[in-house]
């Protein structure tokens, strides 16, 4: 039993107090407080946070070779002078003693995954990779090497390098394991991306409906600020979630929906808006096509029908629809970022966008603003043989034709979208179909904590002839690589500009706070040096990164030095439909030039032109549906070795409904193993007995359950949702991998024998 801290302190203080009165005279010199960092000469540089992918503009406070503090700054439209916990904790990663410090080459003859390495020079490591790459190209073609990555540096390793090299097999987890359904649906509905900075006009909205949106637990900084502003400005909030999330705790209404039935709810809301004549008729008339078909299609989806599916009372469904209509066009259903849920996700997102359109909110205050990218020229290089294939948060690119002499993406034909699906590139590494993938680069991505079906990924890695990992920490998948290249952390490096599509489009700059520690190198340097060795020198005509950045900056009439004193350059946007109309322009890049309620393109491709409801896969007897989400203090599987964040939260716990806990005999403080439908076991993980979740599901936050011996704080804490996601349901439209069709049962487990994080931090320092 844990002794409450209060009573412990009372006991110890009584003793200490008695001693001190008698012993004060014997206490002689004590160390004075060491001078605080802020009393010294503090240099400040503009940086871009990379402790999550919201990527706020920050200012780093540096004393000598150490960053002590990072802060937001007011002129930056992302941070606006504030930062989330992960951003605040950034320096703790740079000074993590567990960092990768030198290039490593797997000891010849040792097995992948055995973790046996020897140190190498950069020269040797890069030569080794280049030789293998050229060999693979000769034997199998350039497409036999796949490039996976996540983070600002993925511009070099997933967009630029593969396009220059000639491989279409480049993929980011942020697409098919995250945003693909909402982006593809947005393209088919609005002819525009949602993009990495969701274009919601939060401060002016009066009615917000969040479906599975974990704002508050997801601490995307600006979004959280503006969500708070909206609420301070009196916006009503409805939260639809099987779990009483943080957002639900702030809501006027919580609708604890049966997992997987969201599309039924959306269709019923559309039904009410149409059958009760509550939608914005003028807007629909002017800006949309297909209303007649929608009216006929929506008839059977009554609130009474939806109640049967969702377990939300029909009356509540009606009331919420009427409230939405009362507040239109300042009523909005913001899209979540992670939308790969059940496999039919593009259609769910289409239903959500259709509902938004009926509220007349796209391109109008209090709804969606129209985001524009900032103007900034590329660095002039010879034309790349291929278009980058991975896409990004902003969704599919327009090009889907491979030039003469190049192979199509290995996942082409499995789904409709034009971007690669990372999970569909694993199979070709095993089967060699449609053609062999024999090489892999992993930059910044965690292969085992992002891509479902870990056993399959491990089998694929064993089949490769070249596997290169570029990272800052010895994550478990990194320790399978043939060559490990240690990148400098973002505080220590320049990167390419980060450009953000926004109400006021802007460009952000990252400037190193000090030289990279250890024998680590920035991503741009690694890409250029590798490029030189594989015959791509012509695509890297710049000598230094400063020259590269300066040249790009010249295209907007500035130079690097000036930008270094600004950090962010903000441009004018065109956020409202009225702005476009004034200029005689149309923002909707759909075939009809309008918002497509009915999608002729989807019909032609053989998909439902209007969203239909498909019931979710049922929960097997004795199991719970495995739901997952975010912790406000952690980012994916990237921050579980950060000492400051681990002090805040050192493990996840499994949320179990209190009645279910009583039925299964779990008591407060108990631990459990989670065992999925395929017998994969995770944990032990603490059981959080709670009222805050339905009885048919359990929930864990994503990112824990590391199995990486070299990550002393992260290793062995909590349970991994990713390892339990041995199955996924492919969305045939977007290529998204629906992850919520995995099920677990709970078995009692002993409490894990782990040293406390605080003890480990102190030992690491010693």
């Amino acid at each position: 039993m844990k002794l409450p801290r209060r009573s412990f302190l009372k006991l110890s203080a009584a003793t200490v107090g008695a001693v001190s009165l008698g012993g004060a005279a014997t206490l002689t010199s004590r160390a004075k407080a060491a001078p605080a960092w802020y009393t010294k000469e503090v240099k400040q540089v503009f940086q871009i946070c990379e402790n999550c992918f919201w990527r706020c503009g920050i200012r780093a406070s540096v004393v000598g070779n150490r960053v002590y503090k990072v802060d937001g700054y007011k002129e930056n439209p992302k941070s606006r002078g504030m930062l989330c916990p992960r951003g605040q904790a950034a320096p703790a990663q740079t000074y993590d003693p567990d960092r990768l410090k030198k290039p490593l080459i797997r000891i010849e003859g040792s097995e992948r995954g055995a973790g046996k390495y020897r140190e190498a020079t950069w020269e040797e490591a890069l030569d080794y990779i280049a030789k293998k790459m050229l060999g693979l190209k000769e034997q199998y073609g350039p497409e036999s090497i796949a490039f996976f990555g996540h983070g600002t540096g993925d511009g070099w390793f997933v967009d630029f390098l593969p396009a220059a090299w000639g491989s279409p097999n480049a993929a980011k987890p942020s697409v098919s394991l995250c945003t693909a359904p909402r982006e593809v649906a947005a393209q088919y509905t609005f002819g525009r991306a949602i993009g990495g900075h969701e274009p919601i006009d939060w401060p002016n909205t009066k009615y917000i409906v969040l479906i599975g949106h974990h704002i508050g637990e997801d601490t995307h900084n600006t979004q959280l600020q503006e969500f708070s502003e909206a609420r301070k400005n009196g916006a009503k909030l409805v939260v639809v979630d099987p779990r009483f999330s943080t957002a639900a705790a702030k809501a006027d209404r919580w609708l604890p929906i049966k997992p997987g039935t969201d599309t039924a709810l959306l269709l019923a809301w559309i039904h009410v808006l149409i059958s009760e004549n509550l939608y914005d008729k003028a807007y629909v008339e002017k800006y949309t096509v297909g209303m007649d078909k929608l009216v006929a299609h929506i008839k059977p989806y009554t609130p009474e029908w939806a109640e049967q599916q969702t377990e939300i009372p029909a009356q509540v469904i009606r009331e919420v629809a009427r409230e939405m209509a009362q507040h239109k066009p300042k009523a909005v259903l913001p899209p979540t970022r992670h939308t790969v849920w059940y496999g039919n996700d593009t259609q769910r997102m289409r239903a959500s966008y259709i509902l938004n359109a009926l509220l007349g909110n796209y391109g109008r205050e209090g709804g969606f603003y129209i985001a524009m990218p900032p103007y900034l020229e590329k660095y002039p290089t010879p034309p790349l043989p291929l278009e980058p294939a991975a896409g990004g948060c902003a969704g599919p690119t327009a090009v889907d034709k491979e030039p003469e002499g190049y192979k199509p993406r290995a996942d082409k034909g499995k789904f409709l979208a034009k971007t690669t699906a990372i999970q569909e590139l694993i199979e070709p590494m095993i089967t060699g179909q449609p053609y062999p993938i024999k090489g892999l680069f992993a930059y910044g991505i965690n292969l085992f904590h992002a891509i479902p079906n870990v056993p399959r990924t491990k089998e694929a890695l064993k089949n490769l002839e070249l596997y290169v990992a570029i990272d800052v920490l010895p994550q478990e998948h990194v320790m399978w690589a043939d060559v490990i290249l240690p990148e400098a952390t973002y505080l220590e490096r320049y990167d390419d500009f980060v450009t953000v599509s926004h109400k006021t489009p802007f460009i952000q700059l990252r400037v190193p706070a000090h030289e990279p520690l250890y024998d680590t190198k920035p991503g741009w340097w690694i890409a250029k040096e590798l490029g030189k060795r594989i015959g791509l020198e012509q695509y890297f005509p710049w000598q230094t990164i400063e020259e590269y950045l300066d040249t790009r900056m010249q295209s907007v009439g500035l130079d690097l030095e000036t930008m270094k004193s600004m950090g962010t350059m903000v441009q004018n946007g065109k956020p409202w439909l009225s702005d476009w109309e004034k200029e005689g322009q149309n923002p909707f890049n759909t075939p009809s030039g309008k918002i497509e309620l009915y999608s002729e393109s989807l019909a032609k491709a053989g998909f439902d032109p209007l969203p239909k409801y498909e019931p979710p896969q049922p929960v097997p007897e004795g199991y719970y549906r495995l739901l997952y989400g975010r912790s406000p203090v952690h980012t994916f599987a990237r921050t579980q070795n950060n000492p400051v964040l681990m002090e805040m939260e050192s493990s996840n716990s499994v949320w179990l409904n209190a009645e279910e806990a009583a039925r299964l005999g779990f008591k407060p403080g108990d631990y459990a193993y989670l065992i999925n439908q395929d017998g994969v076991r995770e944990g032990p993980v603490r059981v959080k007995i709670t009222q805050r979740i339905r009885k048919d599901a359990v929930y864990i936050t994503h990112g824990f359950g590391h199995k990486a011996k070299g990550m002393t704080l992260a290793d062995g804490r909590g349970a991994s949702d990713s390892y339990l996601q041995t199955r996924y349901t492919l969305d045939r439209i977007s290529g998204g991998a629906g992850l919520r069709n995995n099920f677990v049962k709970l078995e009692k487990a002993p409490a894990p024998k782990l040293k406390s994080v605080v003890k480990l931090i102190k030992e690491r320092r010693a």
């Binding site: 002590y68 605040q88 000492p643």
Partner: protein, 194 residues
């Protein structure tokens, strides 16, 4: 002279701990110690629920129990009403830690003194906000002079309904004031694990 206080709007707070991390970094708080922490507690039965996310720290009490118990005068109140520690006078006896009803203090073992939230007096002296206030992405915190009727904190309190402090029964008169506790009964008072 001012009477510096802090207001925390619990209807805005999401318990994200940005404040706690900002404090840790700004003040280089040693591992195992915290000057600021979050308590989270659910109230109610499915589906009628609420959750209280409550940041806690030194309350800079008007009537601070940690000051009179200090045998060396290291614990003191400033003219602006801040409760501070003079590290040179402190002998790390722990009397203040025992006296504080809020568990706000810890011993800095390396330095050999008691320590806690200072309301970032080094930043306030430069005209900046405390680190926790500046970073809060939900605008949950307001810092300022309670004696100045034109300060944002005074005006917000003037317009506010119910105001709560921690452990009012202790007679400490805290200057960290909570607004909009989610439960009608006010702040959840019992100590629990966070």
């Amino acid at each position: 002279m001012a009477r510096l206080g802090m207001l925390i709007d619990l209807s805005a707070c999401v318990g994200c701990a940005a404040c706690a991390v900002a404090c840790k970094m700004e003040n280089q708080v040693p591992a195992g110690a915290n000057r600021l922490w979050i308590r989270e507690r659910e109230v109610g039965v499915f589906p009628d629920l609420t959750v209280e996310f409550r940041p806690e720290q030194c309350n800079h009490c008007e009537n601070p129990p940690c000051v009179p118990v200090c045998p060396t005068g290291a614990s003191y109140q400033t003219q602006d009403g801040l409760v501070q520690v003079d590290y040179n006078k402190c002998i790390a006896c722990g009397a203040c830690i025992a006296a504080c009803p809020y568990d706000a203090r810890y011993i800095d073992k390396k330095g050999g003194y008691a320590d806690k939230c200072t309301f970032c007096s080094h930043r306030v002296a430069k005209g900046q906000q405390p680190a926790c206030v500046e970073t809060c992405p939900t605008y949950a915190r307001i810092f300022g002079d309670l004696d100045d009727p034109n300060s944002e904190i005074s005006k917000t309190l003037e317009a506010a309904g119910r105001q709560d402090v921690l452990r009012p029964d202790m007679g400490t008169r805290p200057k960290v004031i909570y607004l909009n506790a989610p439960s009608k009964k006010g702040l959840t008072q019992e100590v629990m694990e966070s």
